[in-house]
Amino acid sequence: MNPSLASNPPVATPFFFYGLAAIMIIGGIMVITRKNAVHSALALITTLLAQAALYLMLYAPFVAGVQIILYAGGIMVLFLFVIMLISIERAEKERQFNKQWLVGIAAAGALGGLFITVYTTTTKGRVLFPEGRTSYVDMQNTQGIANLLFDQHGGTYMFAFEIASLLLLVAIIGAVVMAKKRI
């Protein structure tokens, strides 16, 4: 059932990457520049969907599916649920940017510089990120993730995964305790 690489070259070309990246960047800028919070949320949804498409390009369909279900479908609905109740008239009058934009640009520039440096650095004549496409592992992505988590021999990420979910549980309990004085 798996299309082999020879007969079926990957459709993920640089063209798609640049398109999706452009969508993500434009969406990201719209999130912070829109005054209306609902417009920001819609821009954020676009960004998240483009990100899911990027995961698909990296041959990680499971991660893409989870991204759509959890972020675009679940979390953003809850965001909208809260944002919808904000009065727009008041939000329009609020000041949108504070005076830290200079520091912010400096920090963003530093981070971008770091990324570029890492990307171009060579160790022993080899670049960290080899040219070309990611290799298509001849195993299904979902099973691969399951093996990384639960396999008796290679299941090395189980502990980290459980710890992360415990963190989320703590956050949920904290929110309930803070919101409700008497339980």
Binding site: M1, N8, V38, L42, P61, A72, G73, L78, L80, M84
Partner: protein
């Protein structure tokens, strides 16, 4: 010409979906076919719902436009297209404009992975069921933005209700789906699958629909899904987002004309989409009834006649009603039209008896028949159940379906792994 025929024939004998084969041309053809089929299904559903509901309430239903109101959906569509398209003054124009398209896109995109047959799907994705759940959950975004952008009280309340309802029932729905996916892994290599075609093939290999697997467990999972899917599509008895006695029309109160009809289209195609998830996961997808019990070429032949016989029967019903039409000269055109419709149906039935068509159409027919059963259930619910109150709705979702789903998931896992568990217990006692 000969080359074209050969090309089509070579395709018909292939055993891959066009998406898997990477064939753009056939994928486009399939997309168009699914789109046209869906539109016809929505039109038919519109007529059937009004007719069946009317008969349940001892009314006649639409009778004026065409014989027995058969042309009513077309008249409705024309009316909707000609209506003035109003955008409220205080509305957020852009969001108001986008919202119906989000809903329609989400409702139609999921059909990319719906398996009408082992080769009759647009594509087969590694993450098929996940994709379906994810994309259909995006439609709530459209509903919420529609309600908000209308800048009016009723739509906003409808949107709030809708988002709360859909998010809550998605959880129970997901748990029921996971317990069915667990069942796909009960084979020799003990690897399950998320692909829609793979799930049906797993049922074929195990020789049982997942509805009857581990006897009460499969049925309970199916029950949870069947309740959650009604809530997920905002249909009666869970149609609180558009409860007309409280909220006029809920989230689409301010919509009119073409935009409103997009919501209508999306609602019905979403109903078909979730029904096809249920059919794929629990009712054996495209498999005909009793594929293992009633084996052999005689049974195969007998079952392959069913689609043709069904269409002939529909044609016969049309002819019967033609004979019963009033004999007044005013009804002459309608009578002729009904007879013509019956003739077309009978002709389709006869074509379906041809061996090459018969072999290719059986799986699509069984899948559609099962989905049609669900569509009838939807109408039946609407005619039978009173609407839930919002707190009752939340209670059912969080306090009944969710715990049941969790328990079911654990039980399914335990029953599925019983051999391994018993072996481990024995080992402990022998030590």
């Amino acid at each position: 010409m000969h080359a074209i025929v050969q090309y089509i024939q070579s395709y018909l004998s292939s055993n891959e979906t066009p998406g898997t084969a990477g064939n753009f041309f056939w994928a486009t053809v399939y997309v168009l076919l699914v789109f046209v089929g869906l539109s016809i299904a929505v039109i038919a559903m519109n007529w059937l719902e009004r007719k069946i509901l009317a008969h349940m309430q001892v009314r006649l239903g639409p009778m004026r436009v065409g014989p027995h109101g058969l042309l009513q959906p077309i008249a409705d569509a024309l009316k909707l297209l000609l209506k003035e398209d109003i955008i409220p003054d205080g509305a957020d124009k852009v969001v108001f404009w986008i919202a119906p398209f989000i809903v329609v896109l989400a409702a139609f995109t999921v059909f990319v992975v719906v398996p009408f047959g082992p080769t009759h799907a647009i594509t087969d994705m590694n993450i098929g069921i996940l994709f379906m759940l994810g994309v259909s959950s995006l439609s709530v975004l459209g509903i919420v933005t529609a309600g908000w952008a209308s800048n009016s009280h009723y739509p906003l309340i409808g949107a709030l209700r809708s988002s709360a309802q859909m998010v809550s029932y998605e959880v129970a729905m997901g748990l029921a789906v996971v317990s069915a996916i667990l069942m796909t892994s009960l084979n020799e290599s003990s690897t399950g699958t998320l692909s829609m075609i793979g799930i049906v093939q797993a049922q074929q290999e195990q020789g049982v629909w997942f509805l009857f697997k581990f006897f009460p467990l499969g049925i309970i999972a199916f029950g949870i899904f069947a309740i959650a899917m009604v809530a997920e599509t905002n249909r009666a008895p869970f149609d609180l987002p558009e409860a007309e006695s409280e909220l006029t029309a809920g989230f689409h109160t301010e919509y009119s004309g073409f935009r409103w009809s997009l919501f209508f289209l999306a609602e019905y195609s979403a109903m078909i989409a979730v029904s096809s998830i249920a059919v794929t996961l629990w009712l054996g997808g495209w498999l005909r009834p009793f594929p293992n019990l009633l084996q052999g070429s005689t049974w195969e032949l007998a079952f392959s006649f069913v689609p043709g016989v069904t269409f002939l029967l529909l044609g016969a019903i049309c002819f019967y009603n033609t004979a019963r039409m009033p004999k007044h000269p005013l009804f002459k055109i309608q009578t002729l039209g009904l007879a013509g419709f019956g003739a077309v149906l009978a002709l389709i039935g006869l074509v379906m008896f041809l061996p090459p068509v018969r072999d290719r159409v059986g799986d699509i027919f069984w899948f559609s028949a099962k989905v049609a059963g669900f569509m009838y259930l939807y109408i039946w619910y609407r005619g039978t159940f009173p609407r839930y109150r919002f707190d009752q709705l939340m209670k059912v979702g969080w306090k009944v379906l969710l715990p049941t789903g969790l328990a079911l998931l654990i039980l399914t896992a335990v029953v599925g792994m019983r051999a391994e568990l018993l072996a481990q217990v024995k080992e402990v006692f022998q030590r």
